[in-house]
Symmetry: C2
Subunit: 423 residues, 2 copies
């Protein structure tokens, strides 16, 4: 097996077990999203690079995206995120759509990152957004959706927290420190980088990028002040709504959360494992200008995105991934010999029409070999039809859990299997 | 709305209605695939160009694929098909996997084709394959899966047919015409192009590419001979198996079917709308060398792929796309005013925990406006909680189908809604 063509670094192969995990996550996402009344949608996977250039932030577009020219020379990007596509789709049908608009999606994204544990270049992402309401209760709803998702898959407030902040509050505090408008975007970047550097490197980074010594000292005070949300009417309303929604215990104010995307304008949040990894599981926030920025009329939005790479690592750590069914097959119909192929095929077809998942062995082979195959597929029943069975109008049904075997009349087979399954 | 950033030509936007259609197709695919005992899997979306270069055929790789260099200069392809990835995944775990192996998948693919009705540059595709059996009954099983899929979505044998042929049979007939081995691949291409050209263009194409006049005449006779399958033991076994499986009427021999991919080695098939469009819906066949060609031990396979672009066009033509639910919401909880926000949020949260899909209006607004929103979302129930209701511990439930309104005690609300839904 030496010359197998290798997959591209950072891409994903979903063998049936990995696929079952992806589907289990998708199903939980669907349940929670639909429970809040959100409709599923999807955008294109290829987008013009211009769509991101405006507002996603330079790092994402220039360093972290797969960008290539199409045959006409236009720059195309493999979507690194969905919100700009969502904004464009809304802008295109802005007058026909009904607001508040609640949409969710689950699909593939690409980022050119160094592949490592918790990072892949291809990943799946849940996106969920509420468009057309400025209320803090809309922000709270999205945060409650995170919390309900965690609750549903078994993560408690002792495992994970949604950390929230408000860029408007930070903007006000930065003004109070005398940080000029032109330096504010950079300051948010400095805050965002804090936990990626050690203390002295981070300080040097802050001062190199224009903060004065006393502004830096002031900034560290702000970032340590966990009561700061009391200065924000919006955040207090968000917390009250979260209380009413019954998920307050999952949520915590954290002034260090500002998120990296340029388009956020208000409440921002990030969910983290609170174990020692402190890995970010999802992030989101309010964006009030994005629909306008892609060419629509002004329209506000709030939403978040969660990838599928970090989550399973955390779930495994807490033993929360259930035993998942990898092979749907319930019944194997064996093939006694070439002459008896037709009766076995017809029996399988009848069982399928009755709603069962049925495989036939695709060719005659020793019955022992076929039964071993049934065991390896974790099939529950194996059916054997030899010449005598055919003549008598019966089949042999082996229950592979109990190893018991019964002779069952062909015309009573469906009823028999249903009975066994109901036991 | 003049300056909206345009999507890339040939890409797809799935608004909730289009998404519901995609999901409906996916669900039908899942049902049929699982009914035959196949497990879901998925491959990477980005693959090294080398993976396709070997065996998919020059046209697909050089003309129809999105190919670009990664940052290290290696050529990467957006997957135009799945079979080579499947072969590689099998080769990588060849000793651990259980055979016969039955796998299916549904996901995005890309081809650089001229966008037109029935063609897109981004599309979804169903792939389903049986690996590790050489028997004609394995070929028949895949064809039966096509037929059962058509049956399930309502397409009858009067609407669609699966046309089948065998490349081994064609190879033998081409030998009988004195067509040399070196010209056979080209001859298959000539056959494959027949219905894309008018008669005289096609003849010129055949002669220009090396066929002699008498070989061309012989070839047209072969392509018109619908009894030719009687010379193929394999095809006769396939037809017998299809008879046993109860789907013979969906299938027809057609010597003009050879399929375009280079890696097919035996039975090949294509399903077509038999209306005047005669559009190809899906195609597949047997490939006995592909696992070896990507670096594994020799292992046979048979499978097919169906895109999601042509199928809905045909289904619409026959009126077979059902009314699909676009918005999952069952209940809207209105917001009377800011003071009553908490009781409405808490009521919504309780209803969600009872399993209902519930939206709240995200801010206080005139009740009439909120009810109009409920109607536009096709919500069944709207709940109003004003100051009096709160004081009395009741809620008003409006059934938006009948416009009837009832006062319901808060603690009996879940039971009440369940009762209304059971009616």
């Amino acid at each position: 097996m030496k010359n197998i063509i290798q997959p591209v670094k950072g891409t994903r192969e979903f063998y049936p077990l990995e696929m079952a995990v992806r589907n289990w996550i998708y199903e939980n996402i669907r349940n929670v999203s639909e429970s809040f009344g959100y409709s599923e949608y999807d955008g294109p996977f290829l987008e013009p690079t211009d769509l991101y250039a405006a507002k996603s932030g330079e790092e994402l577009v220039k360093e972290q995206s797969f960008v290539f020219p199409d045959r006409g020379g236009n720059l195309i990007t493999l979507r690194p995120e969905l919100t700009p596509s969502l904004a464009r789709m809304v802008a295109q049908k802005q007058r026909q759509l009904v607001y508040p608009l609640r949409w969710w999606s689950f699909g593939p994204f690409w980022r050119y990152e160094k592949p490592q544990k918790g990072r892949a270049r291809e990943f799946f992402q849940w996106n969920i957004d509420l468009i057309g309401s400025k209320s803090p209760e809309a922000d709270a709803e999205l945060i409650a959706i995170c919390a309900e998702f965690f609750k549903q898959i078994g993560l408690t407030p002792d495992n994970v927290k949604v950390l929230i902040n408000d860029r408007r509050l930070m903007d006000q505090k930065l003004s109070e420190l005398g940080i000029e408008a032109s330096l504010k975007k950079m300051t948010l970047k400095i805050i965002d980088r804090q936990d990626k550097m050690d203390r002295s490197t981070w300080k040097a980074y802050a001062l190199d990028n224009g903060l004065k010594e006393e502004q830096f000292v002031g900034l560290t005070k702000i970032l340590g002040n966990t009561d700061l949300y009391q200065e924000s009417a919006e955040l207090q309303t968000v917390f009250n709504a979260l209380e009413s929604l019954g998920v307050r215990e999952y949520v915590q104010f954290d002034p260090k959360i500002v998120r990296g995307l340029d388009y956020y304008t208000g409440v921002v949040f990030e969910a983290r494992d609170i174990g020692k990894g402190a890995r970010a599981i999802l992030g989101g926030g309010r964006y009030d200008n994005l629909v306008k920025d892609v060419g629509g009329e002004p329209l506000t939005g709030v939403g978040f995105a969660m990838g599928d790479v970090v989550l399973p690592i955390i779930l495994e750590q807490y033993g929360l991934i259930p035993d998942l069914q990898v092979n749907p097959t319930q019944i194997l119909v064996t093939i006694f010999d070439e002459n008896l192929m037709p009766v076995s095929l017809a029996t399988a077809a009848n069982l399928r029409r009755a709603g069962f998942s049925v495989q036939t062995y695709p060719e005659p082979a020793k019955i022992g070999k076929q039964l071993k195959f049934a065991d390896r597929c974790a099939v529950q029943f194996a059916i054997v039809i030899g010449p005598e069975e055919k003549e008598q109008g019966i089949v042999q049904v082996k229950d592979l859990r109990t190893r018991e075997q019964s002779s069952v009349p062909t015309d009573g087979l469906i009823k028999y299997i249903n009975g066994m399954l109901a036991e």
